[in-house]
């Protein structure tokens, strides 16, 4: 069944009008016919079965019928990622959605030289990946912010930070996370050129940091992000099983 993320409230009997490009996707690309069903979710009301009821030149309408899954939240996991080149950043956002991160925070670091970022496009990628991966919410993508400001506004020392430190003298990630606790976490991935020595020292001095290493080889930023989220989910998140 097709899954569609919508903005509207969902309840039995509700009528939903997907955005124009979503209507195009349903009717033209997937050739959904009147009375055929799909799944819809909005990140608040769980997942619902809906039926295509109207197709017009400019859009379509769905009738919401029955809830098939109650709302559930992804683990409280942020991915903080330095701005990297566009293609790789888009991959990272897609993978963060698949791997169950709740928010993606874009960080400007000393060795970042990306001048602009299309956050709306990253949000669309996150929504599409959420549709495909089967989750009930879409990771939020925040506008880029200097890394130091992210730390200055850190909500609470209860949110731990998994720092993937390329210098290699931290504990292996699985070991460090296996001995760790806490329900609120963030994963920090640096830019392609790494953090400056000053940044690295400042990060390692944070009271809520858990430095980790991701093996003996140099990883690209997208690989490091996927590996780090995988290990967090496996040691502390919802990959641990029931």
């Amino acid at each position: 069944l097709i899954r569609l993320h919508v903005e509207a409230d969902l309840a039995a009997g509700a009528r939903v009008e997907p955005r124009q490009e979503q209507a195009h996707y349903l009717v033209r690309v997937m050739r959904l016919a009147i009375d055929e069903t799909l799944l819809v979710f909005n990140g608040r009301d769980g997942e619902w079965r809906a039926r295509l009821t109207d197709v017009t030149k400019r859009g379509c309408a769905l009738a919401v019928e029955e809830q098939v899954r109650a709302q559930a939240q992804s683990p409280d996991l942020d991915l903080i990622v330095a701005l990297v080149k566009r293609a790789r950043l888009e991959t990272i956002v897609e993978k963060a959605a698949e791997l169950g991160a709740r928010r993606v925070r874009l960080a400007i670091t000393e060795r970042t030289n990306a001048d602009h970022t299309n956050v709306a496009r990253l949000e669309a990628i996150a929504a599409e990946a959420a549709e495909q991966t089967g989750r009930l919410d879409v990771p939020q993508v925040l506008v880029p912010m200097p890394l130091a400001m992210i730390f200055a506004g850190w909500e609470s020392p209860d949110r731990r930070l998994m720092f993937c430190d390329e210098e290699g003298d931290a504990a292996p990630a699985a070991t460090a996370l296996g001995a760790a606790e806490g329900r609120r976490w963030a994963v920090l991935i640096g830019p392609e050129g790494g953090f400056s020595p000053g940044e690295r020292a400042a990060i390692r001095a944070l009271p809520w940091v858990t430095p980790v290493t991701l093996g003996p080889r140099i990883l690209r930023a997208d690989t490091a992000a996927i590996a780090a989220l995988t290990l967090w989910q496996s040691m502390l998140g919802d990959w641990r099983g029931a």
Copy 2:
């Protein structure tokens, strides 16, 4: 320093002539000048410092000077991956190199409908990723083979198979691998459409199989491959630390 994978034997005083496109990369793209140094490796003789000695219209030559690292092998880990679409398959080969797999075996499954694969291009991607990630060998890429033939020719029951089973009733990967042993392994990643019920039953009946799950969400093939290799390296491979 630039790292270059070459075919030639490496020893102090050896002269190496990189391939034409490598020479172009060194001289035109990276603008390496005469007498500047780089690192070279061939998968057999360790890593050597070399010096650019000659530049001609058609190529260049390097003088091999001093070994800087002795040869070391990656863990004995195969990635067996069903043929998927070209872009995603290329990503998987790149990531297999970064994550330290020794061989990539391409499998034809019931739900595979890729008609041709450019193995030479995948080998080039593997070599380039090996250069960037700092490893001393390049993963071998084998020509596509039906999955049943791969199993029929399985070298020994001592090579365990980590089967990423999308049905979700296997143990979490970190748990299953944490209780596992063995030095020779393979990781099996299915096609986008999954394995057929018959294939899945046949795989689970193999005496050397360890079925695992990769969390509650649906993962694309490239995400699953990176996650599985990460968890294997963390639980059984060279990410465990000294």
